[in-house]
Subunit: 617 residues, 2 copies
């Protein structure tokens, strides 16, 4: 049995490598997995008591006093937490995790109703409204996260009985929404992809059928407007007709993961087609350079095409995760490296920025600019230990724990390497690299025989070498080597790590006249902490002809190892006073040195200003 | 008795001219007053039944069936509507208005409790929560609008008994919040300025004292967080300590009007000082070129300094009105023309754009950019006939009806002209002008004798003439002429109507690399409807050296008379596809002609794209 969160049995071009079969041994992601194990997951386990997730479920099981705590979707925090520590237990077993899973499983077994229903909010607070407020109840959303937790717990062999709880709830869903007369959807998509995962674990076909039906049910006006409009929940149009990603970004992206999952199992081409159509539109017009999605705080929404403000970017951490889920399924479905390219961009930037270097603080929102002297934001744009709506932290933890499964795929004996980090992959190769700091990736073959090794050539790598010869990607974005390998054979891939400036499309109004600095997979930003005394990040402007100097740093004040980029720039001064509109441009400028740091490492020092996009001088 | 909405008895440098003493006889504002009379106010009167405002108050008086309709502040719609038609009745008496006021007065007299309390939502829906949910109840907010309606009804001599209803409610407020033990504020400031107005009408000192106390009570944590944070309601800091405008823009701006009103009556300099400090900060960093305020949909908030996105501008119509109220009081308090300058900018742009040319549709939000093919906005960015939360339409109507009172002031026999439009002012002068289409303003003296005529010289008028001699504004922004006038004497003021390009301050990220086009007091925009076939507003870019050609138009497809501005420009093309970030700028351009229309006249034809800020070629 494969041990990956996604293990499609049907139309996949490639198949995932089991999570046990990838070992990440160095680099920023190995560091993050360690911090996740030692700091984030323990913090999350604590929060499951404090935030009410476990106590609520105990109340549903008839134990414990006091009122329901938190949001109606509070159960989902526990499910994501359980999923995170289960994947982490697969990777690096830990008795504390197993103990927590035991306890959680016991609570869930007790809380579940005899008919299979399980949702502490509706059981405790609104038993008369069960399945009656689908537009905002999050009942199926919570169920979906339970299903995913159960899949992980099964792979880890912890949490006794959780799979049975999940199956009983899934069977109940099938009775109500597939074979019963109830037509509906959950206002927050998520259960669709989860049902397919549970189908893959159990082989129970009705779970897949229900997922397909829930996708077909969307956009038919089967549930009410939650008050946020029909686009908010992607219920404005049937899935096959919708042409662009809209509304609540996380909902849209989870829905897409489900759409592709159903395609992968049923072969319904119309699903893959509509999802790819929205993907292309989204990538071209609604994607931040960090890989983030969601341009509006209002409605946590995508926003219009080319509406990509850096300061008010929502770019929710959960949206980055959901986008990785979707792109991974598209990669399996199409074998096209553009999806692995976007996963890389998202992993190293929007997603990696979500968590502090010590693993103890998290961003919900990942803007590309923070001004100084913030007033309106109650948290002054800093990471926080936890949130009243804590969807992000345990979601981050589950992806970090299962990162290994996004590194490579196999197919007919072949191996595709999608993400570069040191480690061993599927018993076939060992990877040595100092990526993303350096572009050299040395692959040593461990499995002899004739098979094809495919190496993703990122679109950003202008000049790429394999074993000292120039290497071009094929139309799918890979460089393929078919050989009769001997154990110990090596291949050296050299990606182009020359720092580069990126210009935004003319239609992106919010960053007109600006450039962003990138190197390899990393987007850079200018943080106040790295600028010379008296030089304000808000005043920086770049000369695109100035050399970009690479400066390795062993430890950036607790943010860890990094590579800074320094350049000659100017500081632009303009006095404040009167209306800020004048019939002549009034700014003057002076020469300064500007220093950039990888975006994912920002906000690990002070609460100073930050910008990804810098005006051209 | 003066007949102006604001008639300060205390520290005013200047005094308002009574609303009956100004007659606007031509130009866009006379047209608007006519449309307001014939279309908007009748529509509003109808809506007072349909939207529930009158029925709710009938229910409070024990008449009528059915549940409470609309928001908890629904009463305020009626009060603003009553105020609007009262001022309009002063200007142009109308029996239908008097009849409506009779009916409204009867309903109010019946709805008011014996102790003076009056609020239909709390009387009908939550009698046990009266004065117990100040953070969001809007009880004092509604009371304030009743007080203002009563002042207007008194001046109009309609709505029998409304003044008495208002006084009884104000006395009740005094009992509860001034002499009683209850300390608090209303989450939505408004009652402060209204109490001062009622004090001016009645001479009842306790109303002024209560207004002063409510201002002192702010920022002391006397009421709970409504869930939107303490900044939202300006309750985060004492009024004298707050350094910048924050939170819900309309609340902040109404509060400021009250702060200056209390200064005008009590002479408490600390109030004027703190209000001016915030005014300077706001003008320099948080004001749109249209005069609008409020940069965020989320929380309807000001946003951070220099956060001024054109597409997501909130710039609520009510904020424009509240800003005019505040600036008018500052003008009276300081005699400085910069406040009249901002009133002019706001009146002709952010405020004037709020209403369609036929007076039957309204903007709640006044953005400076509308993209084509909008998806996320349920109303596609168009004006609407009415709103569930209908604060704006009757608010617009009351300001249009009372516009005459913002035109001029007097002081010791002198006359100050602040806004230019054809008409007669205070029996002292007659004004003839084709403003804002033409810069010539001819003033004919009607009152003989020695007195000073002060003419505001707008900051935008680069070269100004008075009677063919170059004229400079004094430090307060006025050109003053003291003479022994003969009836029939004339003065000719010539303002500079050369079209001009305006550059944003370097720190305004959202419109970097763009310019706006202005002429006289009017900000222009580029609407799709005026561009040549095949030229997309989203693609326009301007050459700042190209001549700006002025093109008078008799009627712009129902939007009325206008002056278009035409210029040679380019259309910038960049293909869509893949990520919108590239290592080289990829845009190409072709020469085109671009045509701009006054911003206030936009959205009177189709739902096409619009931009105020255009990239530099």
């Amino acid at each position: 049995m494969h041990q990956s969160p996604v293990d499609p049995s049907g139309r996949a071009v490639w198949r995932p490598v089991g999570i046990r079969d990838v070992d990440i041994t160095g680099g920023p992601f190995a560091r993050w997995q360690r911090i996740n194990h030692e700091a984030s997951i323990p913090l999350g386990m604590e929060q499951m008591e404090r935030s009410g997730a476990l106590p609520n479920l105990r109340r549903a099981g008839g134990e414990g006093e006091g009122p329901f705590q938190g949001y109606r979707f509070q159960d989902s925090d526990l499910y994501k937490q359980l999923e995170a520590l289960s994947w982490e237990h697969v990777r690096a077993p830990e008795s504390e995790y197993a103990r927590f899973a035991d306890e959680a499983a016991a609570v869930l077994r007790k809380a579940q109703r005899a008919d299979g229903y399980l949702n502490s909010h509706y059981q405790v607070v609104k038993p008369d409204k069960i399945w009656a407020e689908l537009e905002y109840s999050h009942e199926m959303y919570c169920a979906g996260h339970l299903f995913q937790a159960a899949v992980a717990a099964a792979r880890a062999g912890i949490g006794p009985g959780v799979v049975e709880v999940a199956r009983r709830l899934a069977d109940h869903l099938v009775e109500v929404f597939l074979t019963g007369g109830n037509d509906g959807i959950d206002g927050h998509a998520e259960v669709e992809t989860a049902l397919v995962e549970l189908y893959r674990l159990t082989g129970e076909r009705s779970y897949l059928d229900l997922a397909a039906k829930l996708i077909d049910n969307r956009g038919k006006g089967l549930v009410k407007d939650s008050g946020m409009g029909m686009l908010y929940a992607q219920d404005h149009l049937p899935v096959r007709e919708a042409g662009t990603a809209v509304g609540h970004a996380v909902r849209q992206l989870y829905l897409e993961a489900g759409v592709v999952d159903v395609y992968l199992e049923t072969g319904d081409e119309s699903l893959l087609e509509c999802s790819l159509r929205r993907w292309e539109d989204m990538v071209a017009t609604k994607t931040y350079i960090t890989g983030g999605h969601g341009s509006r705080h209002d409605g946590e929404a995508f926003g219009e095409r080319y509406e990509l403000p850096p300061d008010r970017a929502y770019s929710e951490s959960c949206a980055a995760i959901a986008s990785i889920h979707w792109n991974w399924r598209l990669l399996l479905a199409t074998g096209h490296g553009r999806h692995a390219d976007l996963i890389e961009r998202t992993l190293h930037n929007a997603f990696a920025a979500s968590t502090s270097a010590d693993g103890l603080r998290f961003f919900y929102v990942n803007p590309l600019q923070r001004r100084d002297d913030l007033v309106e934001d109650a948290y002054l744009g800093r990471r926080r230990e936890w949130f009243a709506c804590a969807c992000c932290p345990p979601n981050i933890m589950r992806l970090v724990a299962s990162l290994g499964s996004y590194v490579a795929t196999t197919g007919d004996g072949s191996l595709q390497l999608h993400q570069y980090m040191p480690g061993t992959v599927a018993g076939k190769v060992r990877v040595e690299t100092d990526y993303p700091w350096d572009g050299l990736v040395r692959i040593t073959v461990e499995e002899a025989g004739e098979w094809e090794l495919a190496l993703r050539i990122p679109a950003w790598s202008e000049t790429t070498y394999v074993d000292d010869s120039p290497a071009e990607a094929d139309p799918d974005g890979y460089f393929r080597i078919r050989r009769d390998w001997q154990a110990g054979d090596t291949v050296e891939l050299r990606l182009d790590m020359t720092p580069r400036l990126s210009y935004p499309h003319h239609a992106i109004d919010a960053v007109r006249g600006c450039v962003a600095l990138e190197r390899g997979p990393l987007v850079y930003c200018f943080e106040q902490a790295d600028q010379p005394e008296g030089v304000d990040v808000a005043e920086l402007a770049l000369d695109p002809r100035a050399p970009l100097r690479v400066k390795p740093v062993a430890d950036l004040g607790g943010a860890g190892r990094t590579v800074l980029i320094e350049t000659d720039a100017v500081a632009v001064h303009q006095p404040r006073g009167g209306l800020p509109y004048t019939t002549k441009p009034l700014a003057t400028s002076t020469a300064v040195t500007a220093t950039a740091v990888p975006y994912y490492q920002w906000d690990n020092r002070d609460g100073g200003a930050m910008r990804v996009w810098i005006p051209l001088a």
